[in-house]
């Protein structure tokens, strides 16, 4: 049987999962603070816009959003399989297309800032 092409998706899953493990909780916390009306200064329009305008900020946005998306896509593919949705090839196309679309949009919005 031919060797699998899953490694590429698995490495994105693993990278995204590691990044999400370290960063997702605190990012959710920061957004939660904003949701409770205590918007941290870094989340204000001026500061966040300046951050996104800087190359380092762009790198952070790109890395976090896209890796989270590819992590979620691959894990969702496996999870749907576990839940009994067995048409793996079709599910894979859908989830990876969504992640790819998200990647493209991230770049698009970052370029505009």
């Amino acid at each position: 049987m031919a060797k699998s092409n899953k490694p590429i998706f698995w490495s994105l899953f693993a990278a995204g999962g590691t990044l999400a493990a370290f960063l997702a909780p605190v990012l959710a916390l920061v957004l939660l603070l904003a949701a409770f009306g205590r918007v941290p200064s870094g989340l204000g329009y001026e500061q966040l816009h300046a951050f996104a305008a800087h190359w380092f900020g762009k790198l952070c946005f790109l890395g976090v959003i896209t890796l989270f998306l590819w992590h979620a896509a691959h894990r969702l593919r496996v999870t749907l399989h576990d839940f009994g949705l067995r048409q793996d090839a079709k599910v894979a196309v859908v989830v990876y297309l969504v992640a790819a679309a998200g990647t493209v949009l991230t770049v698009l919005y970052l370029v505009r800032i």
């Binding site: 997702a24 946005f61 989270f68 979620a72 969702l76 576990d82």
Partner: protein
């Protein structure tokens, strides 16, 4: 004597309800839905950010809604679950051999928790929380 092996059927959808360890596994797997949701939320925020201050304000306002708060609470809970379950298994995937011994898992796991704390503090600092 004739052979007639019997294959026991397995539920393709409900197998994970049969054992607590399978339910724990599923609880880890579904964290991806909330990581994905967080990514999409941030993407949405980025879009609003690129559209100007007024548009960005609508994004912040949407966070303040009850569904927004609920979603963020769920995202927080599941992302913590992802983090702890992820850190706890890293020694299995990357064993560190030193001479004839292996580095005890607790050091590798401990190092991850330390980095987690550090990274969280850095982000909080950068966000101006303190």
């Amino acid at each position: 004597m004739s052979r007639n092996p019997y294959v026991r059927p397995v539920s393709k959808t409900g197998w994970w309800l049969k054992q607590p360890r399978y339910m724990r596994y599923m609880s880890r797997e579904v964290t991806c839905i909330f990581i994905g949701a967080l990514a999409m939320l941030m993407l949405w925020g980025l879009k609003r950010l690129s559209e100007g201050p007024a548009a960005y304000e609508t994004f912040l306002a949407s966070l303040r809604s009850p569904p927004g708060v609920l979603m963020l609470l769920l995202i927080l809970a599941f992302s913590v679950h992802n983090a702890t379950s992820w850190f706890n298994v890293t020694p299995k995937a990357m064993p560190v051999q030193i001479g004839e011994e292996f580095l005890a898992g607790k050091y590798i796991v401990g190092a991850h928790y330390a980095v987690w704390l550090l990274a969280s503090l850095v982000v909080l600092l950068m966000a101006g929380v303190f």
